[in-house]
């Protein structure tokens, strides 16, 4: 350490007036660099710590269940058994497949609504509106993005759930499916609706950026060829903005999968496996996404094996979200490279 300092400090520069002050300022410079480097490094260390801590806590479950963690789905029953198991024969085997499916179906369903709606809104904001309407739309998007998830959850609980149970459910349907689960409004559909409102502003914001980044000359060339404005948007602008929009979609997917509070309030809180055989009731299945499981099942966290099971939900979440972040990065750098070539 000392050696490096010495060499750095002694290196002469043109600007020094006196040797001493120059030495001191060079030393300060070096110290400053080390200081900000170590701060930057802490951030990098923390992510490692997060992985290590969460994984350590979850390890017994992975050890006992192996691949079954992601291939079997009997979570509710396993939690119940683990909860009542005597201390010296705790049950460490858990299957989180239904939770993973719950997370993915909810997030994908929300994307299915939010992506077209978000891109459509972005097109209106960038290309079709001006003045007050444009400002209004931008402000609304910003505000939607800023509304806390607990408020979305609250509105979902008080508005969406009653709506679903009044409009889509009846006693016959409830009886028919009672052997699988109880239909009561809390459902994947409620989760999808609430989540799509939460992620649509993200899709809009990133799509707006992407559309604005499309060079003017593209539009001009297309319009000069006599193509209508709308065809230009559909055939030229959106394809050119595709990668940027994709980055937004992936980001939104990550947000959707990681959302805990709002979904725990509306999605049903019991880990059922939605089945396509049930037709449209597929969407009315009460599901338990990974992130909400950590909140909903935390009542039983005093049992060590259940605590480990919840931490393994965290591990799976971490892995999915890390994968999505890295994908965003790859897509973004692809965009940048293309723009660089242009």
């Amino acid at each position: 350490m000392a050696k490096i300092f010495f060499e750095d400090v002694v290196k002469p520069t043109v600007f020094s007036k006196t040797k001493i002050s120059f030495n001191l300022s060079a030393l300060y410079d070096k110290l400053w660099e080390y200081a900000i480097f170590s701060l930057a490094a802490t951030g990098a260390i923390i992510i490692v710590l997060i992985f290590v801590f969460i994984f350590m806590k979850a390890w017994p479950v992975f050890q006992a269940s192996g691949l079954k963690v992601i291939t079997t789905s009997n979570f509710e029953e396993q939690i119940r058994h683990a909860y009542f198991a005597p201390l010296d024969e705790q049950l460490w085997e858990f299957g989180l497949l239904s939770l993973i499916v719950g997370s993915l179906t909810t997030a994908l369903g929300a994307l299915f609504i939010a992506v077209p709606a978000g891109v459509g809104t972005a097109v209106i904001i960038c290309e079709m509106s001006s003045g007050l309407l444009k400002r209004f739309l931008e402000a609304a998007t910003r505000l939607l993005a800023a509304i806390p998830s607990v408020i979305y959850g609250l509105v979902g609980l008080m508005v969406v759930i009653p709506l679903i149970s009044d409009r889509l459910l009846n006693v016959e349907l409830q009886i028919k499916y009672l052997e699988y689960f109880q239909l009561n409004g809390y459902s994947m559909l409620a989760g999808i609706i609430v989540l799509s409102f939460m992620i649509v502003p993200l899709v809009i914001a990133l799509s707006v950026d992407a559309i604005n980044a499309v060079p003017r000359k593209y539009r001009e060339a297309s319009l000069a060829l006599g193509i209508t404005k709308w065809r230009t948007i559909i055939k030229v602008v959106i394809p050119a903005a595709k990668s940027g929009i994709l980055a937004g979609v992936i980001l939104a997917a990550g947000r959707g999968i990681g959302e805990a509070i709002a979904l725990s309030m509306v999605s049903g809180a019991s880990a059922n496996m939605p089945s396509l055989r049930h037709g449209f009731v597929f969407f009315l299945t009460p599901v338990l996404p990974l992130a909400s499981a950590i909140i909903n099942k935390s009542q039983a966290i005093s049992v060590p094996s259940i605590e480990a099971a919840l931490f393994s939900c965290g591990v799976i979440l971490l892995v999915i979200c890390a994968f999505l972040s890295i994908s965003t990065r790859i897509v973004e750098s692809a965009v940048r490279r293309r723009q660089g070539l242009d």
């Binding site: 509710e76 029953e77 939690i79 119940r80 909860y83 198991a85 005597p86 201390l87 009653p162 149970s165 006693v171 409830q174 009886i175 009672l178 052997e179 699988y180 689960f181 109880q182 009561n184 409004g185 809390y186 725990s264 309030m265 049903g268 809180a269 019991s270 009460p286 909903n296 099942k297 935390s298 009542q299 039983a300 966290i301 005093s302 049992v303 259940i306 605590e307």
Partner: protein
């Protein structure tokens, strides 16, 4: 012989005069516990410079529980941390199992058990000052607390903890009580791991939890659990067996219990929730040890959500804490007994659960006083305000 008799007589008279004198002297002794003057039906007695007070004074002032064993003539005073056993007329006393000697024994005056205030207070961790000019005994039990106390657990018990913390911190400058509402499960785990001095739970602690963590339970109150249905439901009462059959899935239609022909949709709580744990114990396992709640029951995250579900679904049945009953749902009679606090306190209502706090091993002196506060008159008031049943 006669002179002896006279001597004895004189002695008796002397004693009588003395005791009368002491009674009259003590009549205006005033006892102040934590800044509040204590009213007693039998006045305190001063004997050998020791004040004897009715045992109720201690019970009320310190939140202690007092037991009376008529056969052995024993008074048992129990707080969260200490156990004192006095015998009427005897100088022998046991404090937490250790024998000690009194200077003045406990006695019965006017049908009330009188106990030596200073001894009992000292051994329970109170501070006593006697102000001879105003003839006032100043006892500090809840107002000589200092240090920090960390409490976490059941969200059901949380408001009670916070209210008590608030009142205690008002009385004590150097006291800091931190509370966190994290759920019964975390309360038990946190106390066991040493993250909390006191863990709150709204269910009884499992055998396994007690064993694993070396926990000690202290009951601070109780709570009734009502079985609720939609107000339009024609059923107004169930037997315990019927509740059992409905929740285990044997009865699936309201007509089987005298209602209309409609399916029963069972609402329950998340595993680990205090109300569920207690309900399973009282309504399910009390009838069949191995029975389980039907897997098609819909789990909810809180009392409020169960109430909302039942208020919205005319075929639903659920169970909630007494405090949550309102006009949006109908509470059923169980075995013909209405779900009211009076019935629960009288022991007539079937589903009454304990509110429990746990500590790892014996509570610290500070934690013990906090627990005692629940069973003091101020604590009773707080529990009643939150619709819980105090331990009167």
């Amino acid at each position: 012989m006669t002179s002896r008799k006279v001597f004895v007589m004189l002695g008796l008279v002397f004693l009588l005069v003395c005791s009368m004198a002491s009674v009259s002297l003590a009549a205006d002794i005033c006892i102040v516990i934590d800044g509040k003057q204590v009213a007693t039906d039998v006045a305190p007695v001063l004997e050998d410079n020791r004040t004897l007070v009715p045992v109720r004074v201690i019970a009320e002032g310190f939140g202690a529980r007092v037991g009376w064993d008529g056969a052995k003539q024993e008074v048992k005073i129990k707080t969260a941390a200490n156990d004192i056993v006095l015998t009427i007329g005897s100088k022998n006393v046991t404090v937490n199992g250790v024998r000690k000697t009194l200077e003045v024994p406990a006695k019965i005056i006017g049908g009330r058990t009188m106990i030596p205030l200073r001894f009992v207070s000292d051994n329970l961790g109170a501070e006593i000052n006697y102000d001879s000019s105003s003839r006032t005994v100043n006892v500090k039990y809840f107002s000589n607390m200092a240090g920090t106390l960390k409490i976490g657990g059941s969200t059901t018990v949380q408001p009670i903890s916070e209210k008590i913390a608030l009142e205690l911190m008002k009385m004590n400058k150097g006291l800091s009580i931190t509370t966190a509402g994290t759920g019964s499960g975390d309360g038990i785990k946190g106390a066991g791991e040493g993250r909390y001095h006191i863990g709150n739970s709204s269910r009884a602690i499992k055998e396994a939890e007690i064993k694993e963590y070396g926990l000690v339970e202290h009951q601070v109150g109780s709570d009734g659990i009502a079985v609720i249905v939609h107000p339009s439901n024609t059923v107004s009462g169930l037997t315990r067996q019927q509740v059992f059959d409905i929740y285990t899935g044997k009865i699936r239609n309201w007509k089987e219990v005298g209602g209309k022909n409609a399916p029963i949709f069972v609402q329950t709580r998340e595993e680990g929730a205090g109300t569920l744990g207690a309900f399973v114990e009282l309504a399910i396992q009390a009838i069949d040890k191995n029975a389980k709640i039907t897997p098609t029951a819909a789990p909810h995250g809180s009392n409020g959500l169960v109430k909302q579900a039942v208020a919205r679904g005319e075929n639903n049945i659920g169970f909630i804490s007494f405090g949550y009953i309102d006009s949006s749902v109908k509470a059923l009679k169980i075995d013909g007994v209405e779900a009211t606090a009076e019935n629960a306190l009288a022991g007539k209502f079937a589903y009454v659960r304990p509110l429990v706090v746990v500590t790892k091993g014996a509570p610290t002196p500070l934690a013990a006083k906090f627990i005692d506060y629940h069973t003091s008159p101020q604590g009773f008031k707080i529990l009643e305000e939150e619709n819980y049943l105090p331990m009167k």
